[in-house]
Amino acid sequence: MTAVEVSHISKSFGPVKAVDDVSFTVEKGEIFGLLGPNGAGKTTIIRLMLEIFKPESGQVSILGGPMDEAKKDRIGYMPEERGLYQDIALERVLVYLATLKDVPSDEARRRANQYLDQFDLTAYKNKNVKDLSKGMQQKAQIIATLLHQPELVIIDEPFSGLDPVNTQMVKNVLMDLRRQGVTIIMSTHQMHQVEEMCDRILLVNHGRVVLYGNLDDIRRQYSGHAVLVRTEGNLPTIPGVESIVTHNSALKLTLSPGTSPQDVLRALVALDVTLEQFEIATPTLDEIFIRVVQGEKGQE
């Protein structure tokens, strides 16, 4: 089942094409990573999905059709940073925002208190939002996003400003939601979180899709660019190897374009090198990100 289907959307701001012919789908119950460098167009894509902006061309289908007022109650959206009234007491803001999502105020208050307890914020519920620390505000914002029990959560930088303990807690909350069948679209720069949590990703740069698909497939697609080798004795010079760096107890050989791991293995065997380890290095998402953004194409 598809939760979101975006097809060929484009949006310009003056001469700048912020989103250029972007298409992707988000399946129900998955955690979908929306990645890209700063200014790549991630937030604009989110706003187009939520119909905060209208696309110049293309279509968005969300929860089975075009966006409408009733669907707003089924979606939880957390914009990057802030997004809460600053000079109002925390509990009051949470209850008000939940009632705007059609939760009765008594129920909203009950749930808010439950979450405040879970997020360790009960002592601050009567404090104005602006008096909370950045991390606390971030947690408060996450609560505001989840209080009305949305089916689709769109969350921009959920871990910003959080310490490791709170990061883990938020991660657990999001993973729990996925287990309950909630669809989560997460935009973040923290690649290791994406690697741990996301099923599929979309990487955009300059408003265009540069990578899209299953995370494991993408990593496989980008592997073969380097191999990890451990040998007895010194490693002789091997054709097609650009650089060699020490990687844990092994050596990481970065291959020149056109050289495959098989070529390296054949050369090593031909040179009669005794191998203790030969492994195709799987690139981290960080590495893929940097390579893609810097204009390098993955191997076909």
């Binding site: 706003r47 939520l50 979606i75 914009p79 009234y85």
Partner: protein, 399 residues
């Protein structure tokens, strides 16, 4: 619809339950009360309360009756009888008395009397002496006649078509629209100022994104404007309530307040002018909030319409002397100058019915236009962080 009311409720309570609102609410009547107190004390201290002497050659004041209690701010003055003018003169020179009246022998026939004083006798002292003489003269008359004669006359001027009349004591009805216009302006600008600030803040802290993904922009904007109008009306009602209370209590003690009465027609007309004006200004303020990037810039931009609103006060002389002249009529047709001009003209003249109807129609249309503009600029400008909307963008395209 439920969400709309939630926005109204939230916007209303978030302002009304604040300390600064309560402070604003109380500060205006407190300042007025303080001013009234200063005036009262000045009048009291400046009134000479030394006794006044009299020589009664007509012989009817041998057993004088006490005059009725004074209902002015001034202090009561004691009346002392003297046998002769020489005695009175020496008392005056000793400054035991401030003045003495001489009532001639034929006073009852001619009403001739003279007064001798070192300084000019104040009108309140003169009135007290007149009341003192009148009370004794009227002794034995039925109480309602005494009361009626003490109250004196009240000249009522009526317009030729009979549609309008104005009594000497009707000063209040001239100033009510004037004061109401002024109170409206203060309430309107404070309340809609809150609205502009709130919109700018929501844009700045991105609460706006969360809000428009929960409520439709139209509902949100209308809810905000209605909530803010509620705040303004609360302010006006509170001030109005305090004023009525002061009048109800005051009319028992102060002569000036006795002529005060309320006309349903003028209150109705006042509301018909004030409510669309309020909606119009709030709509414009909200639109400014949506256009600008910070509060200070907003304040500069709002002067574009706050100046025209207060402009009629510059022409107060022309409006007072010729309320139905070309300038006041022209100012009544321009939506921003209409509220103040109309409230002033109401006090000084009869505005032709067709003009009233047309002026109110223009105001209502402007109010609707301002709401549309608020919604439209809001949609365009809500997510433009740090970047102001251009006029071309606002008026150049729709949707």
């Amino acid at each position: 619809m439920k969400k709309f009311w939630r926005v109204v409720h939230y916007e209303y309570t978030r302002h009304v339950l604040r300390k600064r609102f309560l402070l604003g609410l109380l500060s205006v009547p407190l300042v007025i009360a303080a001013m009234a107190l200063v005036v009262f004390l000045l009048v009291r201290t400046e009134t000479n309360d030394q006794p006044v002497g009299y020589i009664d050659h007509a012989g009817f004041l041998s057993t004088p009756l006490p005059a009725p209690r004074s209902t002015t701010f001034s202090r009561p003055v004691k009346m002392l009888p003297f046998e002769s003018e020489t005695q009175a003169q020496s008392a005056l020179e000793r400054k035991d008395i401030q003045a003495y009246y001489v009532l001639e022998a034929d006073f009852l026939q001619t009403g001739q009397a003279s007064v001798v004083a070192l300084d000019k006798v104040s009108s309140s002292v003169r009135k007290q002496f007149e009341a003192f003489v009148r009370t004794t003269l009227l002794a034995g008359q039925p109480p309602e006649i005494i009361k009626r004669l003490n109250e004196g006359d009240n000249l009522v001027v009526r317009s030729a078509d009979g549609a309008r009349q104005m009594g000497e004591d009707d000063w209040f009805n001239i100033f009510t629209p004037f004061i109401a216009g002024f109170a409206l302006m203060i309430a309107m600008f404070t309340a809609s100022g809150y609205l502009m600030q709130a919109v700018v803040e929501e844009k700045e802290n991105r609460t706006m994104e969360v809000l428009v993904t929960s409520v439709s922009p139209g509902q949100l904007m209308a809810g905000k404007v209605i909530g803010i109008i509620g705040v303004g009306l609360t302010q006006l009602l509170a001030w109005g309530g305090m004023a009525i209370l002061v009048i109800l209590v005051g009319r028992n003690y102060i002569d000036l307040m006795k002529g005060i009465h309320f006309s349903v027609a003028s209150v109705g007309l006042l509301l018909a002018i004030l409510i669309p004006s309020f909606v119009m200004i709030s709509g414009l303020m909200a639109a400014v909030g949506a256009i600008v990037t910070d509060g200070r810039e907003g304040q500069q931009l709002t002067s574009l319409f706050t100046l025209p609103v207060v402009l009629p006060y510059w022409f107060i002389y022309q409006i007072m002397t010729n309320p139905n002249g070309p300038l006041p009529v022209a100012l009544s047709f321009f939506p921003l100058t209409a509220p103040v001009t109309l409230t002033m003209r109401m006090g000084f003249a009869n505005i032709p019915v067709w003009q009233v109807v047309l002026n109110i129609a223009v105001l209502v249309a402007s109010a609707i236009g301002a709401l549309w503009l608020a919604g439209h600029t809001f949609r365009l400008g809500m997510l433009r962080y740090g970047q102001r909307l251009s006029w071309r963008e606002i008026f150049g395209r729709s949707g």
